[in-house]
């Protein structure tokens, strides 16, 4: 029996594991504009990201291939984040000493732009606080999934993958 990858033993993938499967966008590219990064390491029959991409930046020859993004072609439009059935696409953008992460948020309450939220990493640990920059509500999203963009310290760009809205 082949070795079981860690992400299938524990249910989360580390950046090292992820980037051994897909390439990491360059620092230059991350600074230029938002770029979509798929965290989808398994061969599953699924193609909405590829089908919706307006610039054909999602590379997948067979429906069972894992999606890889041509980061130069990606215009950072976030349609893949909105449509992905696995909620597995994220967009990252380096802005000064901050990183902006775009992610799905299918929970209540939906944060408001400007709101401070608790940042969660891939195991649900609180790793800090961040500010919500923009929100696309469900009604306006192409895939019926609300997406939010949150600004975090740049060193957390590859850790934060969910937020918790705490209101008194």
């Amino acid at each position: 029996m082949s070795e079981i990858p860690n992400y299938l033993r524990f249910g989360y993938i580390t950046p090292e594991e992820l980037f051994s499967i897909i390439p990491k966008p360059s620092e230059d590219r991350l600074r230029k504009r938002p770029v979509a990064v798929p965290e989808c390491p398994q061969q599953i029959p699924c193609t909405p990201c590829k089908e919706i991409c307006p610039t054909n930046a999602v590379i997948m020859e067979h429906p069972n291939d894992i999606p890889k993004v041509d980061y130069e072609k990606c215009i950072g439009c976030s349609l893949c984040v909105q449509v992905c059935p696995g909620l597995a696409f994220f967009m990252i953008h380096y802005v000064g000493d901050r990183a902006r992460i775009t992610m799905p948020h299918e929970l209540l309450p939906l944060p408001k732009p400007g709101e401070e939220v608790v940042l969660l990493d891939r195991v649900g640990e609180k790793v800090g606080k961040g500010k919500v920059v923009s929100v696309v509500p469900r009604e306006k999203a192409r895939g019926d999934t609300p997406i939010i963009t949150v600004e975090v310290p740049i060193e957390l760009a590859w850790d934060v993958r969910a937020v918790k809205v705490v209101r008194e």
Partner: protein, 475 residues
């Protein structure tokens, strides 16, 4: 407790009505099942076992098990999970004795319904079978024992995988609406709340005996039958696994996503396949705390992306762990789990307790083949497809000519493949009856190619193996 706010769903409830549980008035809504209304009122013990007097609650919530049988308006053994609440209904614990006089007239004649093709089951497979058989020129009747069409789609709030032409990226609940609309705009005769209880044959004539609302006999006459009766949740042995508060995963989805009823406050999930993982996410969306997902296998069985979704919200996924027992008097109060070794034995010192009022069993499904078996179709045990399966050919026709199968009944898979199989079975049945012209063969071939493509990855491998066994058995 009823859910009022939800990130994905909005619950449209019908008119408020009153039902009586052991004489006590209970608020219910039209369109809600009896079991759902009782749950919303906090009544989770529906019965007591006959000998040991152990409490019994809901388990499958789709009419497949006997856990929710109650006496309703004097009629015993009513499946309260699929029977709609009606104003003034009297609900009691099940008294399994034949009622002497509940006002039926004697010698009532059964209603007779004539069609070319009878489709049993209104889930993704049955709906697609009915639509395609109709479009291929057949007169179709569709029957389902549930009060609504859609099968298990009506509780699938997650977006589907696959290609967009096969509804990928669309939530299952929405797909149910789309398919129902397609059926309604066609001349397809739909019978809801109608259970198929037997298939009989006279030459090429097929008779499906149906019972509507537990009391009205209907004869469906046709020349072909498509059986798309779905599947039934499996369970696992552990101490007290019959306590109320322990449900098949699908039952929790039904309560929470279809009827908007919060099934509990704190949950443990057994099984990290797609169903268990998806359920964990849906529980969080409904405001339920998920303590952990335990999985006996050394790896997560479902799609990693589903696991990642709940892991990043803080839910531990414990592979190589199992549930040892549930504790509680009238209902679940606690779950005890432990790590297991390579021989599946609990490792001493690894026991953990969780205070939970909800345990979801998500350990797989087995096909509902009873009707096919009764009709004389040849059955084979195929582990890769979930258990006993009717042997069938590439057109989904069983060993009894004119009886077809599709969806989970034909082997446990995805809703996407169920829809493709339904399409094949619907067209194939119309072709076999000489109704459809040969151009329709191209449509079957296209669906077959789509199936092959969908199953070509690592997740489809075992299904392909299983189907090979079925086709070999035909030789």
């Amino acid at each position: 407790m009823r859910i009022n706010e939800h990130p994905i769903l909005s619950f449209k409830r019908g008119r408020e009505i009153t039902i009586y549980y052991k004489g006590r008035p209970i608020k219910a809504y039209e369109g809600e099942t009896i079991a759902a209304a009782l749950h919303a009122a906090g009544i989770k013990v529906l019965n007591y076992s006959r000998v040991r007097k152990r409490p019994r609650g809901l388990f499958c919530a789709i009419g497949k098990c006997s856990s929710c049988l109650m006496t309703v308006n004097g009629i015993p053994n009513v499946r309260t999970c699929i029977t709609l609440a009606e104003d003034g209904m009297k609900i009691e614990e099940n008294k399994p004795v034949l009622p002497k006089d509940i006002g039926y007239k004697e010698n009532r004649k059964a209603e007779k319904v004539q069609a070319d093709i009878i489709v049993i089951g209104g889930g993704p497979a049955g709906l697609m079978a009915a639509i395609n058989a109709h479009d291929a020129g057949a007169k179709v009747v569709l029957i389902d024992e549930n009060p609504m069409l859609g099968g298990q789609l009506v509780k699938q709030t997650h977006k589907f995988f696959g290609k967009r032409e096969q509804f990928a990226g669309i939530r299952g609940i929405k797909i149910a609406e789309i398919l129902e609309e397609e059926v309604r705009k066609r001349d397809i005769n739909v019978y809801l709340e109608t259970s198929a209880v037997g298939i009989f044959q006279n030459g090429n004539e097929k008779l499906v005996v149906g019972v509507r609302k537990e009391k009205e006999l209907i004869e469906f006459h046709g020349r072909a039958v498509i059986v798309a009766t779905g599947a039934m949740e499996k369970t696992v042995p552990f101490e007290n696994n019959d306590l109320p508060g322990i449900y098949g995963a699908g039952a929790i989805q039904t309560l929470m996503n279809t009827y908007g009823i919060k099934p509990g406050g704190r949950a443990l999930i057994v099984g990290a396949g797609n169903v268990g993982l998806i359920l964990a996410y849906q529980l969080i969306q409904a405001g339920v705390e998920v303590k952990a997902i335990v999985e006996a296998m050394p790896r997560i069985g479902g799609y990693f992306v589903h696991a990642a979704k709940v892991r990043r919200l803080g839910v531990p996924i414990l592979t190589r762990h199992t549930i040892l027992k549930a504790e509680g008097k009238e209902r679940v109060e606690r779950a005890v789990i432990a790590e297991i070794d390579e021989k599946w034995q609990p490792i001493p010192g690894t026991k953990k307790e969780f205070e939970v009022d909800l345990i979801a069993i998500a350990v797989g499904l087995r096909p509902s083949v009873e009707l096919l078996q009764q009709a004389g179709c040849q059955i084979k045990y195929v582990r890769e497809l979930g258990g006993h399966i009717a042997i069938r050919d590439e057109w989904m026709e069983t060993t009894v000519r004119g009886i077809f199968v599709a969806g989970d009944t034909a082997g446990i898979e995805e809703a996407t493949t169920a829809m493709l199989e339904g399409k094949i079975a619907g067209i194939a049945a119309a072709l076999r009856l000489g109704i459809a012209d040969e151009n329709w063969i191209g449509e079957i071939e296209k669906a077959q190619r789509d199936l092959e493509e969908f199953r070509s990855g690592p997740f489809g491998k075992h299904v392909v193996e299983g189907i090979k066994k079925l086709l070999e058995a035909l030789q």
